[in-house]
Symmetry: D2
Subunit: 362 residues, 4 copies
């Protein structure tokens, strides 16, 4: 399996940045789930470049539900969503065909596909392919919300500026899901945006850390080996271009501490078993314990920058200098956030359908 | 799929800490690979608790190759390796049956398996289950070494003490693979071991960060979606008990920098395409670029500590206090290291067999 | 996995008979395979109803390659082919919505999808969905032909009329692949077509047996357990609507004989190991032996007939009488033949890519 | 995936005929299923050769549950069952090492495994490997029986002698499940056994047709594409050595009839929807309709016969004559029957767990 993920609910993606269309096939969703086209559109808009801090390519991302939805509800058979590519300027790219853009997949695609890859605009490696995940993820998010399972992501840090931590989680998630630039502290949001603008002026780019929470999952889902919650989630998350690290509960900082600090003591609260702290991020032995799942994704700075860069011409096997033209974002972290939410939702729908049966989500 | 991982070479694990035996079934290895039983034994010994800084349970881990090996070589059919459980003291555990050990899977196992789980010694969640991965991983490591693909791991940090970074990678890996306590800088190794001893005296435990390198992989393996190198590796690595974070190329630290610093410039060197830096950790767009794969795993402090801890009795749904008895490690990071190597080797064998065919590894 | 088949080359189908479009996503094909659009069109035409012996619905099956093909060759990334539904008369069906057509999936779809299924024209159960398999199969057939692997199917029997057996296999296959009505003996072809016409006049339908041969496969592919050639092929073949039996080498007739007759003696011929007979159909222990693979599919009579039939109204849970209107075939066996070829080609591409690596087919 | 089958409940087999042991790992069974060791033993005994009509190799098949069962019930984690090989006379086989036994997998194994295969007694291709399926299948059969789902198989024909058809299905299944030689009509059972004895005297072997029924499955399980009930079942059934054909509801005979005869009219009976006939074998569009699933397996004559046979020496690539020594059955159809039941049970457990969730079978 390559471009397909998930066992009980599976996601298959297709398309290239400058081909006819990109899209997704979702299979295994219960019949009878409401498909809210406006929400899909709103999510696609969050992913879309917009405003000064993003690329000038303004694709409206109109989408078409080709199959699997009948009279506004899922049928239970594969849902194909197609997003046509309308605004493609292929000539931007052809001149630099054999020059490997540093940090991009041009060279590795060439190694893998022997030159047959559709190289225009990154082809199948383009961040644009995530639009299919976002469209599909919107259906997953809706279905989970009906089950009271909430997912939300904020920019925890960007260019050295740090957002506040989650506090009242449910409120925070609801707030985040109404924001275009997902930062809890408005002042920090301003600072980050200013930082992104400055970076753009320096013809440079910037990355950061996204933090995601998932609330109200039932306890007892996940597997000890190999399909741990951590493992399945990270597998999917690393597909998001630019994600280079995934940690649960701030692990890289906390592991140098002691067990007596790291362990989450259990306690009864209103007849429910909870933990006093949540360093294990809602997961023990790969399985949910009823506490929120909290994880962070490291999002590398966008590799497309407007400065001259040293590289190679991989046709000629010789050194070269590259100056990237075209339309590019100085940061994609604020857009990646909706992709993280989408992927997370799809993963949990899959896990829940496997555990409780195909009709559970309906 | 739960306890099975891998598409072309698959690994299935079974067993409980205090049952008859634990073990592994490996399927898909090319016929004709030499199986070096001494190397398997040596790897199992590295995983085994030993000396003052580890638990007093001294299981010699004798293993039995039950199938799939004939006249010292793989047959191409499933390799079942069984490791009997000999030294089990089950009565240590039964008294505290319904008391959820903080940081352990007792409570989540109860949620998932409704009380039918074999709870003795952590059952199927026990770190002991990784012995099967180590035995299987030894075959994978041998096979890769024949192809000049090298894998090695060091303890990058433990209790705040940091090892030096990789320098001459091949030398470092060879050196590491002869060490019991895998730290490059001998002085730091001493300090870490001292730190672990001190922590044990305080009835506490400690974690740290493992850093792994994989050299000489062919370029062009991996998938853009969803089976990125990062995704498949992390999926498997998160199965290792205590791993709570995986990052490639120090991502969480570097993402707050700029693209101009993060991007790895390409350059020709002796007719080969290399990158000047390796922040992308040998992977662009999910696919290898020929540079070493470098990743780090955050290993949480062992949850078993000898201090009193607050918890709940999940049978009675009431608060409780727990004092763990028995034999436990104040740190497992030095033992986890061989598990990381093993899992990494198994994952790359799988990916390589998928890309180049079932006979490639022979 | 539901609507996805294959491990190394996977096929995902989507669409409903009267929705926007139907289609297929093919993933895992080597980069650089020529995609012959004319051949795809020709294969789709063979599947299409035509002439007096088929339904009056004359959909031209124009197809659109949405992704995965660049400058006439596969890129190595997912190939999405979409076939719009243009000529849909949905009102034909709605009147009889809750009346289960005998032999159709109306009732089982209702049980499975709880009434949310797109019931129009059979929805996702429609034979029309096989057009996606045929389009994808055309690429597979082309790729195999380049490797000298030939596939062909004839109508072995229909309405009691029997075609001659395969004789000179390569000639027979080439001949068959140029025929619209795939019968080796022209006289028998006339008789079968006459039989189908007579059956249509009686408002009835008819089935038969398809026999398929695959030549020049390398020996040594397939698995002893569970992915035997027989098992994987039959798994896929039973997806073709109306296929209710699969036998290799005329098994149901021959098994009552003795081992001394059934066994295929080996013999050297021109330095190559062959068998004197081929009752095992080119497969021993699930693995190819170099002889042609020969199998037969039992294709049940089309369930749509114009006679009154007893049935139930599954909304009201009461008996009912149904008279099917609309456009239907008195036989589909002559159209199913190209679907069998397509599915067979896709299955072998998958098996070969797994065995010899992803680039082998290029 | 090779030696692993199933998505939600998976079965992994390992072992060679003359190695240390053979066995099975079952993963995904709900926790809390009673494991009846006596029933497992009884099923293994049915598979075992016994009496005059079977091979003289009298292995008692003692089995050991190595993991996954605790206090008599499944834990929900992998169940490993091991069956040691005790009575192996390897020297019987080594003399004829490079002589391909006709109808056996010696030559195809050599092609696939390049001579590294454990050739002794058929190695991993031996019918003995099915003992693992039978042991695992016993747990599946027990679990299904608790849900009132019954499975049973009779020898429909053997050596030209035909058993009567199923009549009162539940009675017939109960009766069959108490018989050693599973034929409904006792007189026909005698005739078949006599036929087998005669065949043995002629140093020959014989095959036949097994017919299986599955009762009381819920309606609405299975998939339209590709995981049809027919497809998934046949995939698994073709793994049983000697099975060369699978048909549902006598398809190969009936397809030459007309749709008006083949279609199964629906009708209300006691408030339940049933069909008047059951030619579709309880399956429409790949999905159960509530009627019994009925299918037949063609079991080829045992390839081991005591007559001289022409073959090749595949080391020397030259013609040869082979006379098989050792212990062999003149028929295995009466033993294969319990394997068919076992495989069928495992497949339905997997399908049901996928549809209704992991706990459904408990």
């Amino acid at each position: 399996m390559k471009n397909t993920f998930g066992q009980n609910i599976s996601v298959t993606i297709y398309g290239e940045s400058h081909g006819e269309a990109i899209g997704v096939v979702l299979d295994g969703f219960a019949p009878g789930i409401s498909v809210e086209e406006e929400f899909i559109q709103a999510q696609l808009t969050l992913r879309r470049p917009s405003g000064r801090i993003s690329t000038a390519r303004q694709e409206p991302d109109p989408f078409q539900i080709v199959s699997g939805v009948f009279e506004g509800k899922t049928t239970g058979t594969p849902i194909c969503i197609m997003i046509p590519n309308t605004q493609t300027r292929s000539k931007d790219y052809s001149a630099t065909r054999p020059l490997a853009r540093p940090g991009h997949a041009d060279y590795t695609a060439y190694c893998k596909y022997h030159g047959f890859e559709d190289f225009r605009g990154g082809g199948h490696f383009s961040g644009r392919i995530t639009a299919g995940l976002v469209a599909g993820g919107a259906i997953a998010l809706s279905a989970l919300r009906k089950k009271n399972i909430l997912i939300g992501t904020h920019i925890l840090s960007c260019g050295g500026i740090e957002d506040r931590n989650f506090r009242n989680l449910e409120n925070d998630l609801q707030e985040l899901n109404q924001k275009t630039f997902a930062v809890l502290d408005e002042e920090k949001a301003e600072q980050m945006q200013e930082k992104i603008r400055q970076t753009a002026e320096q013809k440079d780019s910037i990355g950061g850390i996204l933090e995601t929470a998932v609330c109200h999952l039932p306890e007892g889902i996940g597997e000890p080996w190999f399909d741990t919650i951590e493992g399945v989630l990270s597998h999917a998350l690393f597909s998001i271009p630019a994600v280079k690290g995934v940690q649960f509960g701030n692990a890289f900082s906390l592991v140098n501490g002691t067990g007596s600090n790291y362990n989450d003591a259990f306690r009864m609260e209103n007849g429910k078993i909870i933990t006093e702290t949540n360093h294990n991020a809602g997961i023990n032995g790969g399985i949910t314990n009823g506490m929120p799942i909290i994880f962070q994704c490291a999002v590398k700075p966008t590799p497309s920058i407007y400065q001259e860069q040293n590289t190679v011409n991989f046709f000629e096997k010789e050194n070269a200098v590259l100056e990237i033209k075209g339309r590019h974002d100085p940061a994609i972290i604020h857009r990646a956030r909706v992709v993280v939410d989408s992927v997370t939702a799809l993963v949990f729908c899959d896990i829940l359908a496997g555990r409780f049966g195909t009709d559970w989500l309906a």
